[in-house]
């Protein structure tokens, strides 16, 4: 495959040009199928593959003349308006194609027909079908099936509306993040400066930007004045970067002469040629990549699917077997079909959908109070099953604020306070050296506080100037004295600003003591500073520089550098009297001495970790969650922070550490013995996916440094290949593909870009890593509580189905009717089931490993076995017992009920004899039947008390757990009062055919309630006594 000779190194790595549309003579690289993508079956779209590769541009290598010819543009005059129009027509407007947003009605339909709802819809349709059959073949059919179908449909619709409303609410918050102000750009066309809409900017346009502007397109700079840009949304680098027309780096993302679309110009001005617009810009490519990603199902969706399969299996099995049975028993085809449908529908837990939705909503609310805004309800649980967190460094783990961490003077390292509160640690403030160091740091410093923030604490004030200088400024202001006063007393007379070739900054100030003398102060890269110095300061006295001092200096420099800190050296020179006040310093042609300076000390700075993060990382670790740091920063800094926050824990070492300890070359160490690893982005670039898998598998503590935007996505995919549920944090546009691809993408609420917030599932309102951990805790809790909730709800399914089954087999009067079933599912069971969402954890949920989505299912056959096979059966017995008591007390003994169905249901049979020879009219015995159904219903409520209490815990005894859940107690009261109301309220006999019960009939189920409680307590006791034992394996859900 051909390659342009000019491409150099950058072209090696399977890269593609972002400029397919450009009329440039460059060769286009065809799609290359990366081997590492072979595994993925779903993603066949090669363009997505291409987008994942590194960006290649060569415009930054071209000279201005070449640029001029390439884009056929005059570097002074710009394009002609006609030519610009032409290009605009050809390339289209300079805007990102908005991702295909799903229309609202599609979202609504998804809520209505997705997941669990489908089960209810099928139930409803079956009901209508059964009703249709009944109407068609029988004149006087009951309308039960019609009502049931309608209720099912209404339940689905209400729940659908509810969850749609919930999601709409959080997406509204999302929209508030967006600020769509139409942008203007200053272009030069035919020599005239003109303001045009950013959309109309075309390739080849000559564009001028100034501080505060948003870059309108990808630019190759041709001239700049002190231009700095903030590329943080693209690279994650939070510090403004200088821009100049010089080609400084092969990597287009790092070179100085390229500005990127939608980044911000912080200060200065620049002029450049547009080299890409719209979707072909670097930013546009990332956006396209994001919207092109296929997102997997959320774990809870998978769980619900699994659950539906289980339930459907049970329902269909029961339905079909009883269909056959009823045919065998001599029922007609028609009746058998009605039975079949009835049984299938009876298995549908009507209230569960609403319960699950409400539980998730409650948790989402709770999480948003803890600064996790959940966009998608299902993401609530995803966070709980997270097994790997890929976290950003800047802003998430760290405070995103350069802070002075250490000083070295008087041959001693002093520590400064880096905590967020800045309580202020003391160090040798009495030393004269410190006094001089502080003066240099304050005076040889271009940063300044922005006005009108005197009331704010110093650490929180906004500053102008770059991060290091601001850090120094704040530090001095805090621990020394007012910088402003110092600067007023020592006016600056000349300065050489910092630049990357000098690597130092120098300024000359008037001495404050009125001696008219000047002092030269300098700060910069320590090794450069040392070169200028011939003496050094120790406890306020100057000594000539010696080797010992140089050695000390080297050690200190290495030590501080090894902490990942940015180290600056400081020195000064009292200028001789010949350069006293009035001397005109010329900084271009230096007319003053700038050698033999006196070395004072070092100050090192770091973006310190947030206070809560080490704790949170520790929690993650004990919760079995792997925390991977992915950062664009330098490996050493990354490693230092990783160590600081515990991502690389104390005692573990990387292969390099090990090599250093054993004093052997790195190649001789066994990388597998090192648990920790710091992977450099450029190494990652060359890795196959197998190699990446190896790394992810074999190292528990991983830091990825110097990663590019695309690599984050590769890392996420790597983790997902390991079967992990991956959470990714990110703030920049560059993170959005990874955010989208991750099982749960977490965007930063404060520093995050709009694009990342769009792509994420969750937004961290305080940008704090620790909030994720509380989110994980909530997610795990809700998973446990959903289990309990479902166990509770499913249990009452058995006492709801068995009456119908016995009705068919034994031909007894129907013990529980459709209306009463609905009263349980949608009435009495609702609040108690929801109240279980408020249950506190049984043990420290952050001390166990994340659930394995393949094995730990939300609903497994143990849960079904418990709910259906054991507790449900006892409940059914309670119901039947009550039923038989009432019938027997009214004259129908159980034995005489067998086979009574046909006569019982005959409207014209108005002298049906009971066990005492009494004769009943149809209506009389129907009233009796409905009384029985009411009693059956009440019995279920009574046994559900016990069920609710045993569902509170899965392992612990209720006596250990306590009854602190007030909502649950309220739930018990509510269901009881509701049951009493339904039974005793006047008019209920007409409305719902529920009849008042005699008090003793309430008590029939009490023994069974006690039985359930005792049985389960014994079961749980055995499980606790024999952890991992047989009973646990068989019944612990």
């Amino acid at each position: 495959m051909g390659r342009q000779p000019t491409m150099g190194r950058g072209g090696k790595k399977g890269t593609v040009t972002p400029q397919e549309l450009n009329p440039s003579p460059r060769l286009k690289r065809g799609p290359k199928m990366g081997k590492r993508r072979k595994m993925k079956r779903k993603k066949k779209k090669t363009d997505v593959e291409e987008l994942k590769k590194e960006v290649v541009l060569d415009d930054h290598r071209l000279t201005l003349e070449e640029m001029s010819t390439k884009y056929s543009v005059d570097l002074m005059m710009g394009l002609s308006p006609e030519r610009a129009q032409e290009i605009l027509k050809k390339n289209g407007p300079n805007a990102l194609t908005p991702p295909p947003t799903t229309p609202k009605w599609v979202k609504f339909c998804r809520q209505l027909f997705g997941g669990f709802s489908i089960l209810l819809w099928i139930g409803a349709i079956l009901c209508f079908l059964a009703y249709g059959i009944q109407v068609h073949y029988k004149e006087d059919s009951t309308k039960d099936n019609l009502y049931l179908g309608m209720v099912l449909a209404i339940v689905v619709m209400i729940t659908g509306c509810f969850s749609y409303y919930q999601e709409a609410k959080s997406s509204k918050i999302m929209e508030s993040f967006r600020n769509m102000v139409p942008q203007q750009a200053l272009v030069i066309r035919a020599g005239e400066k003109m303001q045009i809409n950013v959309e109309d900017v075309v390739v080849g346009d000559l564009v001028e930007v100034k501080g505060g502007d948003r870059i309108p397109a990808d630019l190759r700079l041709i001239s700049t004045q002190g231009c700095k840009v903030d590329n943080s949304s693209l690279t994650g680098e939070s510090e403004p970067q200088t821009r100049s027309p010089d080609f400084t780096h092969e990597n287009p993302l790092e070179t100085r002469n390229i500005c990127f679309f939608s980044t911000n110009c912080v200060e200065g001005t620049a002029r450049g040629i547009v080299i890409a617009t719209g979707d072909s810009t670097v930013m546009g490519r990332i956006a396209t990549l994001t919207s092109g990603l296929v997102v997997g199902k959320t774990p809870i969706a998978a769980e619900i699917e699994h659950f539906i399969q289980l339930i459907t299996g049970v329902a269909v099995f029961l339905g079909v077997s009883f269909f056959v049975l009823s045919l065998v028993l001599g029922y007609g085809w028609l009746e058998a079909v009605i039975f079949l449908i009835g049984i299938i529908v009876a298995n549908v837990p009507e209230g569960l959908l609403a319960t699950v939705t409400v539980c998730l909503t409650l948790t989402a609310k709770r999480m948003s109070r803890k600064n996790c805004l959940v966009k998608n309800l299902e993401a609530v649980e995803t966070l709980g099953s997270t097994s790997t967190i890929c976290s950003d460094k800047t802003g998430t783990l760290t405070q995103n604020r350069m802070t002075v961490a250490h000083m070295w003077f008087d041959k001693t390292i002093y520590e400064a306070d880096t905590s967020e509160e800045q309580t202020g640690k003391t160090f040798a403030k009495g030393s004269t050296t410190w006094f001089i160091l502080a003066r240099i740091a304050a005076l040889c410093n271009r940063a300044d506080f922005k006005p009108n923030q005197e009331t704010l604490p110093i650490a929180k004030r906004a500053t102008t100037g770059d991060a290091s200088e601001s850090a120094l400024l704040k530090f001095i202001e805090q621990s020394y004295s007012s910088v402003k006063e110092m600067r007023e007393q020592n006016p600056k007379v000349a300065e050489i600003p910092f630049n990357s070739t000098n690597k130092y900054q120098m300024s000359i100030h008037l001495q404050e003591d009125g001696s008219q003398a000047h002092v030269l102060m300098m700060k910069g890269a320590p090794e450069r500073i040392l070169e200028f110095c011939s003496t050094y300061l120790l406890k306020g006295k100057e000594y000539p520089m010696d080797d010992e001092m140089k050695k000390n200096f080297q050690n200190a420099y290495l030590e501080l550098g090894g902490l990942g800190e940015r180290v600056l050296g400081f020195c000064f020179l009292n200028l001789p009297s010949t350069f006293s006040k009035g001397f005109r310093f010329n900084t271009d042609e230096i007319n003053f001495p700038m050698e033999n300076l006196c070395f004072v000390g070092l100050i090192s700075m770091i973006d310190p970790p947030r206070a809560a993060v080490p704790d949170a990382v520790g929690k993650c670790r004990s919760a079995g969650i792997k925390v991977i740091m992915v950062t664009g920063d330098h490996p050493i800094t990354a490693k230092a922070i990783a160590k600081g926050v515990g991502i690389i824990s104390e005692g573990t070492e990387t292969a390099e550490d090990m090599a250093a300890r054993l004093q052997v070359p790195v190649s001789q160490t066994n990388p597998r013995e090192a648990k920790a690893i710091v992977v450099h982005g450029s190494d990652l670039k060359d890795m196959t996916s197998e190699q990446l898998d190896e790394i992810l598998k074999n190292h528990t503590e991983i830091v990825f440094a110097r990663t590019s935007p695309q690599q984050k996505l590769i890392i996420v995919e790597g983790c997902q290949r390991q079967g992990a549920v991956v959470a990714v944090t990110g703030d920049g546009v560059n993170d959005s593909p990874a955010l989208k691809k991750a099982d749960i993408g977490i965007a930063m609420g404060i520093s995050g870009s709009d694009v990342s917030k769009q792509a994420a599932d969750m937004i961290l309102l305080d940008d704090n890593f620790a909030s994720i951990v509380t989110g994980v805790e909530e997610g795990r809790l809700i998973f446990d509580n959903l289990k309990k909730s479902i166990a509770y709800t499913l249990t009452s399914n058995i006492p709801e189905i068995t009456p119908f089954l016995l009705f068919i087999i034994l031909s007894i009067p129907l013990p529980l009717g459709t209306i009463t079933i609905l009263c349980i599912d949608l009435g009495t069971d609702m609040v108690p089931a929801i109240s279980l969402a408020y249950e506190s954890a049984e043990s420290d949920i952050m001390k166990r490993a994340p659930r394995n989505p393949k094995i730990d299912n939300l609903v497994n056959n143990r849960l079904i076995g418990m709910a259906y096979g054991q507790i449900g059966m006892i409940q059914a017995l309670a119901g039947f017992f009550t039923y038989f008591v009432i019938l027997a007390e009214n004259g129908f003994k159980p034995i005489d009920l067998l086979g009574i169905r046909l006569n019982w249901e005959d409207r014209f049979f108005n002298d049906l004899e009971d066990s005492y020879g009494q004769q009943w009219t149809y209506e009389q015995r129907k009233v009796l039947e409905f009384t029985c159904q009411t009693a059956f219903f009440v019995s279920i409520v009574v046994v559900q008390w016990a069920d609710l209490i045993i569902c509170k815990t899965r392992r612990n005894s209720v006596f250990q757990q306590g009854m602190k859940n007030n909502i649950l107690i309220f739930g018990i009261m509510e269901e009881t009062f509701l049951a009493a109301f339904l039974s005793y309220a006047p008019g209920m006999d007409m409305a719902l055919r529920m009849y008042p019960l005699k008090l003793p009939w309430w008590l029939c189920a009490i023994p069974y309630s006690v039985l359930i409680f005792v049985y389960d307590e014994i079961r749980k006791l055995t499980i606790r006594r024999h952890p991992g034992g047989w009973l646990e394996r068989e019944t612990y859900y």
Binding site: M1, K12, G14, K32, K35, Q309, G313, V314, F317, A655, P671, R672, D686, E694, K697, N698, K854, I855, N861, I864, G865, Y868, G869, Q870, M873, I874, L877, F880, F881, F884, V885, A888, E889, N890, G891, P894, D906, F908, F909, N910, D911, E913, D914, S915, Y916, G917, Q918, Q919, W920, T921, Y922, E923, Q924, L928, T931, K998, P1007, L1011, W1030, E1034
Partner: protein
């Protein structure tokens, strides 16, 4: 090209081969654990096909498991070569059936079955105990509550699952079944039988039989001949052949029910809707058109074995022909309710006569 580059790099990978093996072992172990479960499930299906107890339960579980299995297989299908998986499965099934190391087989499944068996057995014991206590508390002679069956309902004979009497006088086929039905119904009222089994008790007063609950009670005679023209003795067609149908009315039996003293329950019929004169005359038998007090109270099926419900026969001697005439017969008397809206058989009965000639 890129692939080449990678493959050249591959040997330089810093990770040893040994570890890869280890990892695979680990994976395999997990995989085996899954397999084991499945195999056991399968084994159960194979070995214990018919346990009568809890068949329902077991099958239910199997169903669930099948679903699970399918899922698992799907998962596997993606990761592992299937042939191998099947072979392993087979091995494990074998091992399960007879595990040479542990010298155990089917232990787990068996245990589940046993436990469930005992569980359900004890549940059965519990319900039996409960039912037993229930019967201890309920008297076999007298139901604890009778308010649901009160006030008494009314039913008519002949009864052919319909309350429309449509027949053509000249076509015996259309009314023959009424005659048969009535004849059958009145067999128990034959005078000979009544005289043999029951006693002739004094009319106009309750036939109260004190004594122990479990003592057999005597029943009062209600002879077929009381029904005179509707007894079928003189006119074996009960008037159907002449277009003057007899319809018998009886009040539902209720244990312990006593009509108001001195005021027997009377029957009166009239046209329910339409012209009053559609029925010009009705003869009631017994002529009092009432249920004599001596037939009350009723002591229940167990002791009051030969109790014969008293009847009132309505002889519709002059009904408009060739037209549906809705008739409502009501009970009248103290303690009788005959206007319950929901129940059209309490204290009244409504039927239509449509006699064609």
């Amino acid at each position: 090209m890129r692939r080449q580059l990678r493959s050249r790099r591959a040997p330089a990978s810093p990770y040893g081969y040994r570890y890869r093996l280890d990892d695979q072992d680990e994976v395999n172990q997990n995989y085996l654990a899954d397999e084991e479960e499945e195999a056991e499930e399968e084994a159960r299906v194979m070995v214990v096909p018919d346990l009568e107890e809890e068949e329902e339960e077991e099958e239910e579980e199997e169903e669930e498991e099948e679903i699970e299995e399918e899922e698992k297989e799907e998962e596997k299908g993606q990761g592992q070569p299937t042939g191998n998986a099947w072979w392993q499965k087979w091995q494990i099934v074998n091992e399960y059936l007879w595990d040479p190391e542990k010298r155990m087989s089917l232990a787990r499944t068996g245990l589940i079955l046993v436990i469930y068996f005992f569980f359900y057995a004890s549940l059965a014991a519990v319900i039996t105990l409960c039912m037993y206590t229930l019967f201890l508390t309920i008297s076999p002679y007298m139901p604890p509550f009778t308010e649901r069956v009160k006030p008494p309902g009314v039913m008519i004979r002949p009864f052919a699952h319909s309350l429309n009497f449509n027949f053509n006088v000249s076509e015996p086929d259309t009314w023959q079944h009424y005659v048969i039905s009535l004849n059958g119904f009145l067999q128990g009222y034959n005078d000979s039988l009544q005289e043999e089994m029951n006693v002739d008790c004094p009319p106009g007063q309750y036939f109260i039989q004190d004594g122990d609950e479990d003592e057999d009670k005597k029943a009062c005679q209600f002879k077929r001949s009381f029904l005179k023209n509707c007894s079928g003795l003189e006119d074996p067609t009960f008037g159907y052949s002449t277009g003057q149908p007899c319809i018998l009315l009886k009040m539902n039996r209720i244990v312990g029910f006593r009509p108001e003293l001195g005021d027997p329950v009377k029957v009166s019929c009239k046209v329910q809707r339409g012209d009053e004169n559609d029925i010009r005359s009705i003869n009631y038998y017994p002529e009092s058109a009432s249920f004599d007090l001596r037939y009350y109270p009723y002591y229940g099926k167990l002791t009051h074995v030969n109790y014969t419900s008293p009847l009132v026969a309505m002889h519709f001697t002059d009904v408009v022909k060739n037209q549906a005439v809705p008739v409502q017969c009501q009970l009248k008397g103290k303690g009788i309710i005959n206007d319950v809206i929901n129940d059209r058989f309490v204290g009244r009965v409504i039927f239509t006569l449509n006699i064609e000639t």
